[in-house]
Symmetry: C2
Subunit: 150 residues, 2 copies
Amino acid sequence: MDSVKDEDLELLLAWRSHPDVYRYFHAQSSPLHWDEHYKFWTTRKDRLDWIISVDDGIRKRKVGSVNVSHLSSPAPEIGIFIGEVTLMGHGVGKRSLKLVLLYLKSQGYLRATARIAEGNIPSQRLFGSLGFVRKEKIPDADAYLYELVF
Amino acid sequence: MDSVKDEDLELLLAWRSHPDVYRYFHAQSSPLHWDEHYKFWTTRKDRLDWIISVDDGIRKRKVGSVNVSHLSSPAPEIGIFIGEVTLMGHGVGKRSLKLVLLYLKSQGYLRATARIAEGNIPSQRLFGSLGFVRKEKIPDADAYLYELVF
């Protein structure tokens, strides 16, 4: 996984504008506008973003993104999506999440969290398979907080 | 406009996988798979592809693609799409098409063509505004050939 660079912003925008990707996003229900995307990117704080890549033996390619926010809290929040929509459900997200959890442990964190929409069964299964447990409902959202204690 | 480079392939895939983009494609009715995309790209012949960019004064960004195929015929075929879906209908395609027409004229071509789906009103208007005229129906497709004589 590599850090997201400025030159990746068009790709992130394209991925985040696909209905199969943003359908479970908390703060987005239509394709993303560049201005909003760029403003978010250039003002984000307390957060790391990586590009998820796969290598099929012919070419390494970028397929999605994973991030950790609220890094100054004791339980950072993980977000993830596969932007190459035909690759969803092939285990790429799980491998990336494991790397993020290793990173957080190496930094001394004792817990990680995720917000997962009520209808987002794939993410519930993914995070559940790594030990995340459903906690309280997020106020004013059809989503729940999930938590992993290392 | 810059030529499409290998490093743009993920972005092209993401754009071509958006339902608002591929809805009028002749040979595609669902998100594109990487393998198919890569095979097409690495074996394409007789064709040029460019990236369409816009500069908002803060950052130049990639927003779509335009191509010319059948370059060995007397009337090459132009294809175009805006991949940044929220930018559709803002005149970016028209500016790019004009550049492509200038290029074809400079190369000595006397005609250009386009295949436009029957329901694709935006493209019919766009190409029509540049002088393209509807010709015969494309066999086995809900599309028409459009032609411009320079």
